[in-house]
Subunit: 681 residues, 2 copies
C-alpha cells in the first residue's frame, strides 16, 4: 500500500480532523472546562440540600433522625435469620409510626397528619435506609391504609384508621393473583352476595386465583383488603374491595389458608404470602363502599355507571403507591451515587507516570462518563418527582379535583415510577461496579440496595405495562372511556377514528409551528441552535415525543385497515408504544428540571444546576441519537459535537461531584461503608 | 389549523409512509415471517445440544449428573445460615472432586485428567448450578491449583498437586490488596530474603496492603499462594508468588491474621477473608520458581530479564481463570433464558379480544424484543467461548506455543470475559423482570443468579480494565514491551511513533481494500448489500472496529503533540478506548458464530442458527446505529430497515424459542421454578 493513499483514509475519520480539534463548543456562550475564561462554580451544599428538600424539609429531617437512630437495622438485615429479621422490621416500623412519620397522609381526626405531600416526602426519605422497613411501611400505611381511606367510607374510617395509623392493627392489600399479574380486571377471586345472611362469600375458585406475594400476609396481618369479582343475584359487577379478617390474635382464621412465599431476592424483612379463601363469610359492611354499594336486600348501586370507568376510578385512588415507589427508587439511587462518588474521589488506581500518585478514579474520563450522567438524571428525576408529589397533594387535597387533572396525575405517576425505578436499577448496578470488589461486600450497602430495589420495577405496576398506560393516555388524549389497562382497547380506539384526528390531537402541527416561532430559520433550525440552549434541548425532546406518538397512531390504524387482528397489530407496534411513552416521560422530567432551575436567582447554585440540566438533556439525546439522525433532526457532525459537549460537562462537574451528592443529605450513619469511604462512622 | 396542512406533516413521518409498509425485506433472498412462502425450520433439540456441547459432551454430561445429584444445595443456599452453608458448599465441592470433575486440567501423574479443554468445559457447565460451588471450585482448583501448577516447579508439584486435586489440601490465591485492585504491580506485601536463614519474610507493611476478598481464606485454606514484592539483598525484583501456610489443622498459624469479609451480595458459600502477615518466615523453596529463582546465598536469577515482561509472563499463565469466568457467565445467562422463555410461552396476560384467551407473553412484540436478541447473543457468545477455550487448550498443551499466540489468547480471554459477564448481568436482569413478581422469589433461581454473578464483572479482572488491555493489544499489535496493564504506557507508546504507522498497522487500508473486493460498487457498497448478507454484516463490524482503532491512535497522538500530560490524554480518550475494544470483541464473537454456522451441513438446524446469527449481527449494529450513521455507513432508511428486519427475525424465532433454550441442556432439576414453569419437578 502506497503511503500517498493515507490522506484518503483521513477523510474517513471526520471525528478526528484537526479542524474539529480547535472548534469552539457549539454554544457560543459556552466556555470549555479547561479554557482560560472558565470559572468553576462553588456549591453551597447546605443551600442545595434545602432546595432539594423543598417544602417538607422538616419532615425529611425527622425521617433522617429516625433512620440514624434505627441504623442497627441495616446490620440486622445482613445477619438475622429471616423470621427474626421480620420481627425486627416490624419493631422498627412501629417505632417510626410512634414518631408520626408514617401517618402523615391520614386525616388528623384519625391520628394522622392530614398532609399528603408530607407523607410522600417521609416515604421517599425512608428509602435512604433499610428497604424492608420502607416496603413494610408502604404495605401497612400506603396500600392497606390507603385502600381503607380511599375506597372505604366513614364507617370503615372510624373502625380502622386510628388503629392502623398507630400500627396496632396490621393489614394486607390482597390484589395480585398467581394467574393474573398486571391484568387486575381478570382476577378470579369471587365475592358472592348472600342476601339472606346479609353477607359476602369470599372464595378462591382455583390455584390461578390465589392471592400472590401479598405483603404482611405470611406473619403479621390481622385484616386484608381483598379484591374480588362481585356477584350479586347472579349478576357480575366487576372487581371490588372487601375487608376480610386473616388472623385473630395472631392465628389464621378458619377458611383462610396462607403459605409463606419463602425466601426472596431481597426485602426479606417483609412477610409475603400466598392466600386462599374457602367460602369465607364477611358482613355486608365489609364492602369498601366509596364507589359502589350493595343494599341489604341485594341491590347493586353505584354513582359510576360504566363498570370500566368504575374500576379505573377505584384503582386511580390508589395512585399514591406508584408515586411513593418512584420516589423511593430515585432516593435509593442517591445512596448508591453518594457512596460511588465519594469512593471515586478517594480511591487511586494506576499512576500517570512513575513519579506521580496513582490517579483518582473520578479523574478518569470513563469513570466520569459512568457516574456523572447518572447523577444528572438523578437530579432531573428528583425535580420531576417533586412535580408528581405536588400534583398528588393537590388532587387528593381537593385543590385540583377535575377528571382531567386526575388522569394526568395517574399518567405522570405511572411514567415517573417506571423511569425512576429503572433508573434505580441501572444506577445501583453501575455504582456497584464502579466500586469494584468492595461494592460486593454487604457492609458497603450495594448488596441490599440492589436486591431490595430490584422488584420496584415490577410492583405497583410492571414498568412496561405502566408505559403502555402512559402511551394510551397520550393517544386517547385522556378520554375516560379508554383509560383502562386493556391495550387492545387502544388499538380499537385508534382504528375507529380518522388518523388525521389523532395526528392533529398529538399536536405535531403545534410543535412545528412553535419550532418556527422559537428558532426562525425554517427546517434548519436545529442545525444552528446552541447545544446548550435550553430551548433547543426541549424542542428536540418535544419533537421526538410528538413524532413518535403520531407514528404509533398511524401504525395502529394501518394495521387495522390492513385487516389484521388487533392483538397482532398491538404486538407489532408495542416497541413503538413503549418508546413513545419513554419519550414523553423524558420530556416531562427534563421540563421539571428546567423550570426549577430557571426559577433560581442567578448565582453559583444556578450555574451548577444548569450544568447538570444540560448534561441530562444532552445525554438523553445522545442515548437516542440514532433515532434523531434517522429522523433528520441531527447531523453527523452535530451528533459528535453532543458527545464532546457531554465530556466537557463531565469535566466541569467533576470538581463539584462530591458536593452534589452530599446535598442529597443521606446521613453518613446510614451509608455504612466505613472501610470503603474511610470514615470513622 | 387548516386540514390542508396535514400532508406536510406526513412528509415528516418517513418511518410510516405507505411505500415502506409494502417494501420487501432488504435482502432479496429473505422471506417475511408471515409471507406465504416462509417455511419455519424444525429444531432437532438433541442434535443442537450435541452441537453446543461440542468435543466435551461426556464431560458436560458428567457435570450435569453431578448437579442433579447435588441439587439440594440450591435450596440450602436459600435457607442455611452463612457458616453452615460454607461447610455444605465445601462438602459438595469435595464430592464433585471425587468424581474427577474438578481435576481435569491437572497432569495425570498427579491424579488429574490431563486435559485443559475438558477442565474448562466442566467448569462452564457447573454454572448451571449453585455458583458458590462454582466459585469455590475456581478458587481451589483454578486459582490456587493453577498457580502451583503454572508458577511452581517439580518440587511444588510433587509436594502439593495430588493433595489439592483430591481436595485434601485446600488453598487460597492471595493477590488482590485493599489499596490495589486491578494494579497488581503496585501491591505492598513484601517478601524479603534472609540469606542467613535461607528464608523469605512475608510481611504486610500497612492496611492498604492487606490481602482482600481472598476466597477460602476465612475458613478453609491451609495454604495460600501469596503475591508479594520480592526484595533480595536490598534490591527490588517485583511481584513474585510464594506458598505460605495460613492454617495448621484448621488453626490459623502465628504471624497470620485473618478476618472474615462478612456477608456479601452473593456467593455466601465461599469464605472470603482479609489477610495480614506479620514477618511470616517461609523456606527459600516456597518461592514458586518457574520464572525466577533465588539461590541460597541470595542471588536473583530469571530467564526473563525485563521485569515487566517477567511479571506479565507470570500473570499470563493464569489466563485460564478469565476463560472460565467468561464461560460461567455465559452459562448462567442460559439458565435465566431457559426459565424466562418457558415462562413466556406459558404465562398469559391480557386478552386480544373478549372471546379469546389472554395472550401468551412471548406473542407480544416487546417481549420478543426483550428476550430473543439476548438469546441470539448467548448463542454467539457460546461459540466465541468455544474458540477461547480451544485456544487455551492449544497454547497450554503446547500445540501452539509462540509468544504471539499467547498474547492473542490473553486478549481474547480478556475481551470474552468482559463482554460475556456483562451479558450475564444484563440477561439475568431482563429475564427476572420478564418473569414479573415470580422472578423475585428465590425458588425461581433469579435471586441467586443475579446476586452470585454480579461480581463476575469485577473478579478475574475488572471489565473496564480488561477492555483497556484488549485495546492496548490492538494498538501495539501485541508487541511484548507494552502488553502490561499500565495504561499510560499505551499513551507514551502511541505518542512515540508516527501515527501513520499505527493507522497502517490497524489495517484500515486493508479493510477498505477488502470492502471494495467484497462488494464492488465503491463507496455505496453498504447501501446496496442485503441486510442478511453475512459479508455485509461482518464488513460493518470490521469497519467499526478498524475506524475506532485508528481514531484512538490519532487522538492519543494529538494529545501528546499538544503537550498534554499522558494521564489527561488517556482520561479524555478512555471512552473511545473502551468502545474500540468492545467493537473488536463484538467482531470476534460474531465471526465465531458465522464460522460455526457456515460449517454446518444444509438443513433446518443451519437455517435456525442462521436466524440467530443474523439477529446477533443486526442487533449489534442497531445498538450502535448512531455511530454507523455518524460515520456515513448507514443511511436513515437503511437504519430503520434494520430495526424492521430485527422484528421480523424475532417473529421467525418465536416458534423456535423453547427448543433453542432446551438445547442448552440445563437439567430441569436445577431449574427449580416448579410453580413458575408448571412442572412436576
Amino acid at each position: 500500500m502506497a503511503t500517498d493513499e493515507v490522506p484518503a483514509i483521513d477523510d474517513q475519520l471526520p471525528d478526528v480532523t484537526p479542524e474539529e480539534a480547535t472548534e469552539p463548543p457549539q454554544d457560543p456562550g459556552a466556555v470549555h472546562a479547561d479554557a482560560p475564561g472558565y470559572e468553576q462554580p462553588v456549591v453551597d451544599v447546605e443551600a442545595l440540600r434545602r432546595l432539594l428538600d423543598g417544602t417538607y424539609g422538616e419532615v425529611r429531617d425527622l425521617v433522617r433522625r429516625n433512620l440514624v437512630e434505627q441504623r442497627q437495622i441495616l446490620l440486622d438485615a445482613d445477619e438475622m435469620p429471616r423470621a427474626q429479621f421480620r420481627e425486627r422490621v416490624l419493631e422498627v416500623v412501629l417505632d417510626m409510626a410512634a414518631t408520626g412519620q408514617t401517618g402523615m397522609g391520614f386525616p388528623e381526626a384519625h391520628g394522622g397528619g392530614g398532609d399528603i405531600g408530607a407523607s410522600v416526602a417521609a416515604f421517599e426519605t425512608l428509602a435512604f435506609g433499610d428497604l424492608s422497613v420502607l416496603t413494610k411501611v408502604g404495605v401497612q400505611f400506603g396500600l392497606f391504609g390507603g385502600a381503607i381511606l380511599q375506597l372505604g367510607t366513614q364507617h370503615h374510617h372510624d373502625a380502622y384508621l386510628a388503629d392502623l395509623v398507630s400500627g396496632r392493627l396490621l393489614g394486607s392489600f390482597a390484589m395480585t393473583e398467581f394467574g393474573h399479574g398486571s391484568n387486575v380486571q381478570a382476577i378470579g377471586t369471587t365475592a358472592t352476595y348472600d342476601a339472606e345472611a346479609g353477607e359476602f362469600v369470599i372464595h378462591t375458585p382455583d390455584d390461578a386465583s390465589r392471592k400472590d406475594y401479598i405483603g404482611n400476609a405470611a406473619a403479621h396481618a390481622e385484616l386484608a383488603v381483598v379484591f374480588a369479582q362481585l356477584e350479586v343475584a347472579g349478576e357480575a359487577h366487576g372487581v371490588h374491595a372487601f375487608v376480610v379478617r386473616l388472623r385473630r390474635d395472631g392465628e389464621v382464621v378458619d377458611g383462610v389458608r396462607i403459605e409463606d412465599c419463602g425466601p426472596k431476592m431481597g426485602l426479606n424483612g417483609v412477610d409475603n404470602g400466598h392466600i386462599w379463601f374457602d367460602h369465607v363469610r364477611v358482613p355486608r359492611t365489609a364492602l369498601l363502599n366509596q364507589f359502589a354499594e350493595v343494599t341489604p336486600e341485594g341491590r347493586y348501586l353505584s354513582p359510576i355507571e360504566n363498570p370500566n370507568k368504575r374500576f379505573f376510578t377505584m384503582l386511580g385512588t390508589l395512585v399514591q403507591g406508584r408515586v411513593c415507589v418512584g420516589g423511593a427508587g430515585i432516593n435509593a439511587a442517591k445512596v448508591a451515587l453518594t457512596i460511588a462518588v465519594h469512593y471515586a474521589t478517594r480511591r487511586r488506581q494506576f499512576e500517570a507516570s512513575s513519579d506521580q500518585h496513582e490517579e483518582l478514579l473520578l479523574d478518569y474520563g470513563m469513570h466520569q462518563r459512568r457516574l456523572l450522567p447518572l447523577l444528572a438524571h438523578t437530579y432531573a428525576l428528583h425535580f420531576a418527582q417533586d412535580v408528581v408529589a405536588a400534583d398528588l397533594h393537590d388532587v387528593f387535597s381537593g385543590t385540583t379535583a377535575d377528571e382531567q387533572a386526575r388522569r394526568l396525575l395517574e399518567s405522570r405517576a405511572a411514567g415517573t415510577k417506571a423511569i425512576g425505578t429503572w433508573h434505580a436499577t441501572r444506577t445501583i448496578q453501575e455504582c456497584r461496579e464502579a466500586c469494584g470488589g468492595a461494592g460486593y461486600i454487604s457492609e458497603n450497602r450495594f448488596a441490599a440496595l440492589k436486591a431490595d430495589t430490584d422488584v420496584f420495577t415490577t410492583f405497583e405496576g410492571d414498568n412496561h405495562v405502566l408505559l403502555q398506560l402512559v402511551a394510551k393516555g397520550l393517544l386517547t388524549d385522556y378520554s375516560s372511556d379508554f383509560s383502562d389497562l386493556d391495550q387492545f382497547g387502544m388499538v380499537r380506539f385508534v382504528a375507529g377514528v380518522a388518523v388525521e384526528t389523532v395526528v392533529e390531537k398529538t399536536a405535531v402541527h403545534k410543535l412545528f409551528q412553535s419550532i418556527r416561532d422559537l428558532l426562525p430559520g425554517g427546517d434548519q433550525w436545529d442545525q444552528e441552535a446552541g447545544l446548550l440552549d435550553p430551548n433547543y434541548q426541549l424542542a428536540m425532546l418535544r419533537f421526538r415525543e410528538e413524532h413518535r406518538l403520531a407514528g404509533v397512531a398511524r401504525r395502529l390504524k394501518r394495521g387495522i385497515d390492513d385487516g389484521m387482528n388487533p392483538g397482532v397489530v398491538f404486538s407489532r407496534v408495542q416497541d413503538h408504544v413503549i418508546a413513545t411513552a419513554r419519550a414523553h416521560v423524558d420530556r416531562l422530567v427534563h421540563e421539571a428540571f428546567v423550570s426549577r432551575t430557571a426559577a433560581l436567582p442567578d448565582g453559583d447554585l444556578k450555574v451548577a444546576l444548569n450544568l447538570l440540566c444540560d448534561l441530562h438533556a444532552l445525554s438523553v439525546i445522545e442515548a437516542d441519537r440514532g433515532w434523531f439522525m434517522e429522523h433528520g433532526r441531527l447531523s453527523s457532525p452535530r451528533s459528535k459535537a453532543i458527545s464532546r459537549e457531554i465530556n466537557d460537562l463531565c469535566r466541569k462537574l467533576r470538581p463539584l461531584a462530591v458536593d452534589l451528592v452530599d446535598a442529597f443529605g443521606v446521613p453518613r450513619e446510614v451509608l455504612r461503608a466505613e472501610d470503603l469511604l474511610g470514615w470513622e462512622g
